[in-house]
Symmetry: C2
């Protein structure tokens, strides 16, 4: 057969990579400069149907195409991005992602990640200790909070069902159910449906005035379970809607009293453990049986880097232990603890630990506490401006870096604020989102960009007023 | 409050990114030059316990740390990488990943991916058409084949159970089961366990001499189902162990005859549709109800980019449709077809389409067919050398780019080849894997690097002989 065809040699040519890479680095640096200077819009809005026609699969040039994508995406790095709980990543972490992509070490087995696998174990160990877990803890990194919650709830199901669900299926026992709050992330309910529990598999307990799940609500939910066997509680440490923290010590007590598994969805709030000023919000988290923590939220990593942590590390194998002869050398997990594929739903996965590991080495742990402190302080600045405004009002006092507020106007408040949010999106100079709370529809700003300044909030409120007038 | 603290300003400084980025591009280019020249080892093996101690969370410098990771990882770009079915990514696709990472557009909603969402829809449409699906097809990209198979099997469960599993749970009907082959990827069995079906939820049908699932085996499996309701068939288009292609037309016929859902795991083999020489292996795939295709296999993308495709696009909503007021503007999918979060288990996800989109624009569709043709031809070169060798033998003729072979020696062949594989790993100059087939343990090489040359196989066989002697 012939030697490497020219088109293939060209596509893999290191000098081509070098030239395109240097051009791209400059293009990204220029975009960062522009965004940080508050130039242009945060959200280059296009009607979706129009956008669909604008990205044809015709021939193109790599760097030009990527520059167009940079200019046409939502600019999380713009200080007026105050929307979803996804951060502007640390630029150095994006560089680590480039290394992850070029190496492509899939690391289901140690051989396919002789650097990535030990780095992941170091990062998981650090995350577990940061949350107060002890020597027996264990865990794994996986692609996102939804997959993380699924992994943890599978371990809960296996540990607490009272029969071997993995082997015998759900038919072999009574209906199972999990107690969670009305504010739980939609992935929790979705996960239980995936697992075959149906709508009866979720007992939604009411929240208190601060949007927290209390032990008394859990007790009432237990009393309402009927013929269902309740296997656990899913608590939130930084709820998605409002950033509320459930009282974990209180929930650990009620879980212990009834022999339930306590899972804490700390996807958003886990990083609060790095802040001396705010870590008390997580009091009791070390008593949870399992925890999910997204490093791609308050640790400023690019998506997706989720840790699933278990107080008893052995639980990490419960959900998935299974033989695959082309992958794992032995069936017994103890023999191959370094083959991380046994711990996740994922077979091939990204080298997601290296960005956390390098960021901790470059910036130090305290840096991340300072980021959390700044984001929480910024949220306080927005809340105080809303409080003082006269024409805006808060839904509740922010517990962290999420502020829910609305504009006051005569007539239907929900319709007014929905329409206002729509105008913000189509204008694009600021980006905020909205959420439906029991008290009505509210605007919602998660402060994720530490380059935001308090004056940006003055400008936001003026911008909203101007849109109402216009 | 104070302005942006210096440590935070420094971490986000575009000029710091520019300087570190240029250094990193040169470091990666140098590594590519070295790997392509066959310098150094493919696998820098360390005993796992030693490796664990070598990556402490002390202070470090970004580019130096990343260079050390480059030097300590498995070099898929080295032409003597002949191991798992994960490719050396196109360097340009790794650059697209850098853009994905810095933008971090999570795209559960269109606003969080005004470029990424339409690009994903364009890529999904292209992939569906490439496999022969028509105008009514639909799908989504997700993080990996395991998650992709889970998504497809959830749609199968909802469509074919005969009752509303999503709403009422598995308890509301008879036990369910899926027929698959003994060669199915372990994630398929794992997925059904996750979904609550237990070991009874899988009926493993025997394979023929070419490792294919035949209609007759499906019929026999159906006859053995007992009180279980069989809902579908999972076929492989490029099985993991040997690369075998199940006869899809035959399986579509038997599925139609019995009202079953046909899912095709074409994670590995989907890209064969791009090769005029080999696409007949996929004959009938357009009749499948759902297909999974990993672009991070034979399309040379970095992991993870998996398409889940449905012949009837509406099925994409069946598994997950659910209200999340802070995300989706409306409950009805038709109103917000561009909010891709309704289609996946993932809420936040990576902008994974942009690397496929740019690669197709830069290189053109034919390029990917040429890559497939070269990898298959290379596998044929290895197979013919094994056949001609006298001291090695093939397990079966390769159907694609996976070659299973073993060294012949007196005594316990399995133990001999396992020990040989272990020596290859610890030596590191070549990388191959192994697999347990019904006929015994075999060495396994998936040819994924188009820069490999036939002479590398001569060197591989000599290397194996030398390790046997040593």
């Amino acid at each position: 057969m012939s030697s490497v065809p020219p088109a293939i040699a060209s596509a893999y040519d290191p000098e081509r990579f070098r030239a395109e890479g240097h051009r791209l680095i400059d293009a990204i640096a220029a975009a960062l400069v522009s965004w940080h200077a508050r130039e242009g819009v945060v959200l280059p809005w296009r009607p979706p149907a129009d956008a669909l026609a604008e990205w044809p699969l015709a021939r193109g040039e790599l760097v030009a195409d990527l520059q167009r994508i940079l200019a046409s995406s939502t600019a999380l790095a713009h200080p007026r991005y105050m929307g979803h709980q996804v951060p502007p990543p640390l630029p150095g972490a994006a560089l680590a992602e480039l290394v992850s992509a070029i190496l492509n070490n899939g690391m289901a087995v140690f051989e396919m990640g002789p650097a990535a696998a030990p780095i992941e174990l170091a990062v998981v160990d650090w995350m577990a200790r940061t949350l107060g877990y002890g020597d027996r803890a264990g865990g794994v990194l996986t692609s996102g909070g939804s997959l993380g919650n699924l992994t943890a709830l599978l371990a809960m199901r296996q540990a607490k069902a009272g029969f071997d669900v993995w082997r015998d299926g759900l038919h072999a026992g009574p209906p199972l159910a999990v107690i969670t709050s009305a504010d739980a992330h939609y992935s929790v309910v979705r996960t239980l449906r995936i697992m075959g529990l149906g709508e009866g598999g979720v007992i939604v307990a009411p929240i208190d005035a601060q949007h927290r799940l209390r032990a008394s609500a859990v007790e009432a939910a237990l009393a309402s379970a009927g013929d269902r066997r309740v296997i656990g509680i899913v608590a939130a440490a930084g709820s998605t809607a409002t950033g509320a923290f459930d009282p974990l010590d209180e929930l650990a007590d009620v879980a212990a009293r009834h022999g339930l598994w306590l899972h804490v969805d700390a996807a958003h709030g886990g990083a609060v453990a790095l802040s001396a000023a705010h870590r008390d919000k997580l009091a009791g988290i070390g008593r949870a049986d399992s925890i999910v923590w997204d490093a791609h939220k308050l640790m400023m990593m690019p998506a997706l880097v989720t840790a699933v942590l278990f107080k008893q590390g052995g639980h990490v194998y419960d959900a998935f232990a299974q033989q695959a002869s082309y992958l794992f050398a032995a069936a017994a997990p103890d023999d191959t603890w370094w083959d991380l594929g046994q711990r996740t739903l994922e077979c091939t996965k990204r080298m997601m630990a290296i960005e956390v590991w390098t960021a901790l080495r470059v910036h130090g742990e305290d840096f991340f506490g300072a980021v959390v402190d700044r984001l929480v302080a910024l949220a306080g600045e927005l809340a105080s401006r809303v409080r003082a405004s006269g024409d805006f009002e808060l839904a509740i006092e922010p517990a962290l870096n999420i502020v829910c507020y609305r504009h006051r106007a005569p007539g239907d408040l929900d319709a007014h604020n929905r329409a206002l949010r729509r105008r913000v999106v189509e204008d694009g100079r600021f980006y905020i989102v909205g959420t439906q709370l029991p008290a009505g529809y509210f605007l919602r700003s998660t402060i994720m960009n530490p380059l935001t300044e308090p004056s940006d909030f003055d400008d936001l409120l003026e911008h909203l007023r101007a849109l109402c007038r216009g």
